[in-house]
C-alpha cells in the first residue's frame, strides 16, 4: 500500500504543479500573445510604431537602465556593508531594506508626491528653481528606484553571508585595496547571485505600475511608461494596441528569465 501511494504521490504533485503553473502563468501569457496577434503580426507591429507607444517604450527603457545601474551599485554597497561589517543597527537596516517589498507601491508613489508635488514639502522651492520631479521623468526614476531597491541587496546578502569575511581579509592582507578586493574577490565569487539580482531588478523596473502611476501624472507621450500606456490604451478600447505592448513587455521579461536560467546552468557546469 505504502509503496504504491509513495509512487503515486509524486506523480500527483507533479501533475498538480504543472496544472497550476499552466493556469496561472502560461495561460495568461498565451492569451496576451493571442490577443496581440488577433489581427495579425503586421497590425500589432503598426500599433507599436505609434508616437505615444514609442515614447512609452523609450521612457521605460531609459528608466530601467538608470534604475538598474543605480540599484546595482546601491545593492552591492548595502549587501557588502551589512554582511562584511559589524555595526550598531545592522539588523534594523536589513529589515528596512525589505520595506519596499512589503509596502504597496502606491504608497511609495504617494510619498514622493508628498515631497516633490506642487503642494508638497519641497514642491514650492523646486518650482521656483524650475526643477520638475513629480509628473516628470525624475519622479518616475525615484519611484522605480524605491520599489526595486531590495532585489540586488537581498539576492546578494545570503550569498555574501555564507562567503564569510576570510577571503576579503586575505585579499586585504595581500595588499588589495577596497576596489581591487571588490572587483577581483567578492563580486566574481558572488557573480551568479549578483546577476540574478540585477536581472530581477531589470524585470521589476520595467513592469512597475503602482508607484509610477501615482507620481507620473499619466501624461501620454511624456510620462507614460509601458505599463501605464497599456492601461491607457486598454481603457480607450484599443485592445490590439494594448495587447501588443503587453506582449512586448512579456517577451522582454521572459527573455531576462531565460537569460538567468541559461547563465545559472552554465555557472553550475563550471562549478560543480
Amino acid at each position: 500500500m505504502t509503496s504504491q501511494s509513495s509512487r503515486i504521490i509524486p506523480i500527483v504533485l507533479t501533475l498538480l504543479s504543472y496544472t497550476i503553473i499552466g493556469l496561472l502563468i502560461v495561460l495568461p501569457v498565451a492569451l496576451i500573445l493571442h490577443e496581440a496577434l488577433r489581427q495579425g503580426l503586421h497590425t500589432a507591429f503598426e500599433t507599436l510604431k505609434d508616437p505615444e507607444a514609442r515614447s512609452a517604450i523609450r521612457l521605460t527603457a531609459c528608466v530601467t537602465a538608470i534604475v538598474t545601474v543605480i540599484n546595482t551599485a546601491g545593492g552591492i554597497a548595502a549587501a557588502w556593508t551589512l554582511t562584511k561589517y559589524d555595526f550598531r543597527g545592522a539588523r534594523l537596516l536589513v529589515s528596512l531594506i525589505e520595506l519596499p517589498i512589503s509596502v504597496s507601491p502606491v504608497i511609495a508613489g504617494l510619498v514622493w508626491l508628498l515631497l516633490f508635488g506642487r503642494q508638497g514639502w519641497w514642491g514650492n522651492w523646486l518650482g521656483h528653481h524650475g526643477l520638475h520631479i513629480a509628473f516628470a521623468v525624475p519622479g518616475i526614476v525615484l519611484a522605480t528606484l524605491f520599489v526595486t531597491f531590495p532585489y540586488v541587496a537581498r539576492t546578494l546578502m545570503p550569498y555574501m553571508e555564507q562567503q564569510g569575511r576570510a577571503a576579503e581579509e586575505a585579499a586585504f592582507l595581500f595588499g588589495a585595496g577596497f576596489w581591487k578586493t571588490l572587483i577581483h574577490v567578492t563580486l566574481p565569487d558572488a557573480g551568479w547571485a549578483l546577476l540574478s539580482g540585477v536581472l530581477l531588478t531589470t524585470a521589476r523596473a520595467m513592469g512597475e505600475f503602482g508607484a509610477v502611476a501615482v507620481i507620473s501624472g499619466h501624461i501620454p507621450g511624456v510620462t507614460e511608461t509601458m505599463p501605464l500606456h497599456i492601461e491607457t490604451l486598454y481603457n480607450g478600447y484599443q485592445s490590439v494596441a494594448a495587447f501588443a505592448m503587453a506582449a512586448l513587455l512579456v517577451l522582454v521579461a521572459m527573455t531576462t528569465v531565460l537569460i538567468r536560467m541559461f547563465l545559472e546552468r552554465s555557472f553550475r557546469k563550471q562549478h560543480p
Partner: protein
C-alpha cells in the same frame, strides 16, 4: 622580523569585554613561536592583531620597531595562512598564488613572465606543480593547505602567521607538513608565529611556546623551561597529563593529606598547597605503605601504565619498567618530583576543566 607588543589590550566589538588583556610579548627576528592555549584563550585574536586585522585595540604593537599602521599593507611583509585557508574559490591555484603579486601597484608589479616564474617556483616548492590549473574545490585538505602557504609566501614575506594550519589534516599529513614548514622557516629565514591548541604539535615545531588563557599570556618560554618550571597550575595542566595531590607545607616539608603518599622536603611558607605531578614522575616505595597497584592493559610508546589504589583515591602512573609482583604490594607513593602551587595562585588561574 621582530614584533613587540606592550600593554596591548583589545576589546570585543561594541563592548568593554577584553579579548586580549594587557599583552606584553616580544618575538625576535627568525624566531618560531607557537601561541597555545584552550579555545577562547585569545590565540587567534592575538595573531590577527599582529597581522593588523583588528580594531578596537589600545597599547603598542611594533613590527621591526615601527607601529604597524604606519606602513602600507604591501610593505609590511606579512604572510598569513587562515584557519580554513580562505582560498579564492573562483580562481585557479596559480592565480590564487599570484594574487599578492597581481594586486601590487603597477609600478612595483613584476611583469607577467616573472609572476609566472614565481608561481611555478612556488608550485614546485609545495610539490604540486601539476595542479596550477585546478580550482580550490578540486583539492584535498592537505593540498589546499599548501596552496594557502604558497599564496602567503608569494610576495616574499619575512613574517609568516599561521592560524591553526594543521587543524583539518589527518595525523600523518600533519606531521609531514609540520616538518616541511619548520624546514622552510629555517631555509627562508622567516619569523613564524603559529596558533595551535595542540601543545605537542607546538613543542614539536616551535622554539618558543606562548601559553595563553582568558586573553592573557600566562607564560612564554621554551618547551623545556615550561616543562621544568611551569609558572601556574594551568600551564602545567595544559602541557600534559597531570595528577594533583592536596596537602600542607609545614616546617620545610610538603605533607600530602593522603597518608599513602610520602611527604617530601619543600622550602616554602607554611600553609595549604597542592602538588602537581606528571604520571611518569611518580615512583613507588614498595613495602612502605598500604596502597596496592594493578597493571593496566595499555602499553603505548613502550611505557607501562599502573593503577595505584590508595584508601582515599585511585590514579594512574606511567613507567618504563615492568614491575614485579613484590614491587606492587603495600606501596607508598613518591611524588617528590612534583611542583607545589599555593591556592592563591590557583584561584587566580583556575585550572582548566579536564
Amino acid at each position: 622580523m621582530s614584533i613587540t607588543l606592550e600593554a596591548f589590550t583589545q576589546y570585543a566589538p561594541r563592548s568593554s569585554r577584553k579579548l586580549l588583556d594587557n599583552i606584553a610579548l616580544t618575538v625576535e627576528d627568525r624566531a618560531f613561536v607557537a601561541l597555545v592555549g584552550p579555545s577562547g584563550a585569545g590565540k587567534t585574536t592575538l595573531l590577527r592583531a599582529i597581522a593588523g586585522l583588528s580594531s578596537h585595540s589600545e597599547g603598542t604593537l611594533l613590527i621591526d620597531g615601527l607601529p604597524i599602521h604606519d606602513r602600507p599593507v604591501q610593505d609590511r611583509g606579512i604572510g598569513f595562512v587562515f584557519q580554513n585557508y580562505a582560498l579564492f574559490r573562483h580562481m585557479t591555484v596559480a592565480r590564487n598564488i599570484a594574487f599578492g603579486l597581481d594586486v601590487l601597484p603597477r609600478a612595483r608589479r613584476p611583469d607577467r613572465a616573472a609572476i609566472q616564474r614565481r608561481v611555478t617556483e612556488l608550485l614546485d616548492l609545495i610539490q604540486l606543480p601539476h595542479l596550477a590549473k585546478a580550482y580550490p574545490d578540486q583539492l584535498s585538505g592537505g593540498q589546499r593547505q599548501r596552496v594557502a602557504l604558497a599564496r602567503a609566501l608569494a610576495t616574499g614575506p619575512r613574517l609568516l602567521l599561521l592560524d591553526e594550519p594543521f587543524g583539518a589534516l589527518d595525523p600523518l599529513v600533519r606531521r609531514d607538513i609540520r616538518r616541511w614548514l619548520r624546514d622552510l622557516h629555517d631555509r627562508m629565514n622567516l619569523t613564524t608565529i603559529l596558533v595551535t591548541h595542540d601543545h605537542e604539535e607546538a613543542m614539536d615545531v616551535a622554539d618558543t611556546l606562548v601559553v595563553m588563557q582568558e586573553g592573557r599570556i600566562v607564560q612564554a618560554a621554551e618547551a623545556s623551561t615550561l616543562n621544568a618550571a611551569p609558572q601556574t597550575p594551568f600551564v602545567m595542566e595544559f602541557l600534559g597529563e597531570t595528577l594533583k595531590f592536596q596537602g600542607t607545607v609545614r616546617s620545610g616539608q610538603f605533607v600530602p593529606d593522603n597518608p599513602d603518599i610520602a611527604p617530601f622536603p619543600f622550602e616554602g611558607p607554611d600553609g595549604n598547597a597542592t602538588a602537581f605531578i606528571r604520571p611518569h614522575d611518580v615512583f613507588l616505595l614498595p613495602g612502605a605503605g598500604q596502597a596496592s597497584v594493578e597493571k593496566r592493559p595499555h602499553f603505548s610508546n613502550g611505557l607501562f601504565r599502573y593503577q595505584i589504589v590508595t584508601a582515599e583515591a585511585a590514579f594512574e602512573m606511567i613507567t618504563p619498567t615492568d614491575l614485579s609482583p613484590q614491587e606492587m604490594q603495600n606501596v607508598r607513593v613518591d611524588i617528590s618530583r612534583g611542583k607545589i602551587f599555593y591556592p592563591a595562585a590557583a584561584s587566580e588561574d583556575p585550572p582548566k576543566p579536564a
